[in-house]
Amino acid sequence: MPPAAPVQYLPATGVFSATWLLVLFPLIGAAVLLLGGRYTNKWGPYLGVLTPCLSFVFALFLWMAMIGRSGDSREISSTLWTWIPVNGFHVDVGYLIDPLSMTFVLLITGVGGLIHIYSLGYMAHDERIRLFFGYMNLFVASMLILVLANDYLVLYVGWEGVGLASYLLISFWYFKPEAATAGKKAFVMNRVGDVGLSLAIMTMFWAFGQTNFAAVFGGIGGAGSGVALALTLLLLLGACGKSGQFPLQAWLPDAMTGPTPVSALIHAATMVTAGVYLIARSATIYNASQDGRTAVLLVGAITLMIGAIIGCAYDDIKKVLAYSTVSQIGYMVLATGLGTAGYALGIAHLLSHGFFKSTMFLSAGSVMEGMEDTTDMRRFGALTKAMSVTHITFLCGYLAIIGIPPFSGFWTKDAIIEAAWDKGGTSGTLLAITGIVGAGFTAFYMTRLMSMTFWSKSRWRETFRPHDAPKVMLVPMGILAAGALCVGGILVIGRLLQNWLVPSVGEYTEGVRAVNPWLMSTITLIVVLFGVAGGVQGFVRRPVPTTAPVPVSPLVMAARHDLYDNAFNEAVLMRPGQWATRVLVFFDNRGVDGLVNGLAAFIGGTSGALRKLQTGFVRSYAVGILGGAVVALGALLLLRAA
């Protein structure tokens, strides 16, 4: 690996010198709404919607301006003020706006703006709607800080900010006990990731004396491979925490107890993809460490399988979507692990995922609103007519995620699978197969979801009066659904996005063994169709029981009754599937949860035990002092002797 050339960013001129306005709008919104108290109750929500939209309009201006520049002058950076000057080293608060961050800014403000509008309808009856918009604005501002930062430490500020906002929003309905628990779990797991990121920053400081992108990327070539590996692993740990990747994925499904717009914006479209952003942003570091990339590949592949398999097991519509998110982010992470061949593909899938998953979440929210906040799919069914618009938008998202040509998922997911295959060697083959099998599972659980919700027979209570949501919700859903259908194709055909991102993540490289893309796509498509068939067979043709069959998971139940009749299939396909699902669900619920809870219990227990040492007796305290004295003197005398 030749040492990277010193990284230079252009100074900000013209409209770019006002980039900070992007952050300022939602920040003002958050400040006014959170500090203004009940005086803002009346007009507060409208202000909350206005600010991300303003940012979006401004972002469009910036985008135009950036397109107007030549390819090599699109990386613009500027310093606002010096934040921490210390020890001959200083952290500047500044921003970097380049094609990568521009892309994210458009996604965050665009999708974010639509979801804000949707929330006006969804949260209309909540008496704390002002607070909700305050938190949402806080989130948008923090997320923009995260993607616009030109320094890892400033990025960390945004990173913590989105974590805080996410936490506040998960627990928004704090009176539900599961909301409080979910918030706690999200917090604990995110802290693990945060420790990773903060250690990475400390490592950068130690190795380069600086933490801004230019210095780190410029210095990484000269630093040893050990530093690069450490950085890649620590950054990956941070990404795992934020993006719900193995082994820190368990918080994301629980986070669905928050309001649905939150699930759509934060836990599907934007925040959880921050991990992918982090890896893509640190492309220079990952390029310097083969082992680091391998770790990323491994995490991505494991996560995409885990997410897809567990997605088959849940009956809660939002949890299925959540595991689907985990799985889809696994695809993105896998793509970034492929190095220069994959960064742009990962981002492309991220964008199309942002559209189709938020479409599906918003549609799910619409379904829930019609069904008195029920999330159990076993209580749905036959909603096609009652919710015709919602059905159509959901269908768009469905077609996009399972990858039916010519919709988004087909282009972006297949591109990742092909790139994995192109990596070559056994590992490339295995990764591609993982991706294809994952696609099959995706098709199965999404078909299952659609069947149980819309296509099967009605199982809802008589009191329910399903109806489509009001227009203020339907319009954003429609716009996003349209995006979900076509954004993937637009981005990937003609390598539009790949060329656009060249300044940020480097030149796109071809893999070693090209395979006819149509062959690959056909194989994938066949597997996907198998999955769809399985879903249709299990959940449209057969009546769906209103309670989950025990003790096996629905996938196994379906498989046992319908899919595989003969013993061979049972032995070869079903048993392992059954086993895998059971084990994974078990580990997800008990294992990782258990680990987190165990850790918390361990610390709590230690705390309880240490606390007992504080007996309240002066004489016990004196024992502590004398004991400490003996230790201190003993240690000093030992060191003297040494």
């Binding site: 606390r611 007992k612 504080q614 007996t615 309240g616 007796f617 002066v618 004489r619 004196a622 024992v623 004398l626």
Partner: protein, 99 residues
Amino acid sequence: MNPANYLLLSGVLFTIGTVGVLLRRNAIVVFMSVELMLNAVNLSLVTFSRLKGTLDGQVIAFFVMVVAAAEVVVGLAIIVTIFRTRRSASVDDANLLKY
């Protein structure tokens, strides 16, 4: 005899003082144990003064006595106050604050 042997005696007295603080329950006796520790320190200071041939040690010991006098006034006042409300001077009885 080595003139520095006083230091050994001082160390022993200091240690006995610390053990007294750990063992006694009557706040006044605990405080007297602390005074014993201060006395031991003074013995060290005077001895070092002689070993070094400078009077600084004696001056410091003098200051220790002055400071100890002030400390005794405050300490006994606190002990008397707490005795008046609790009717007990046992340090073990004062353990409402814990954990």
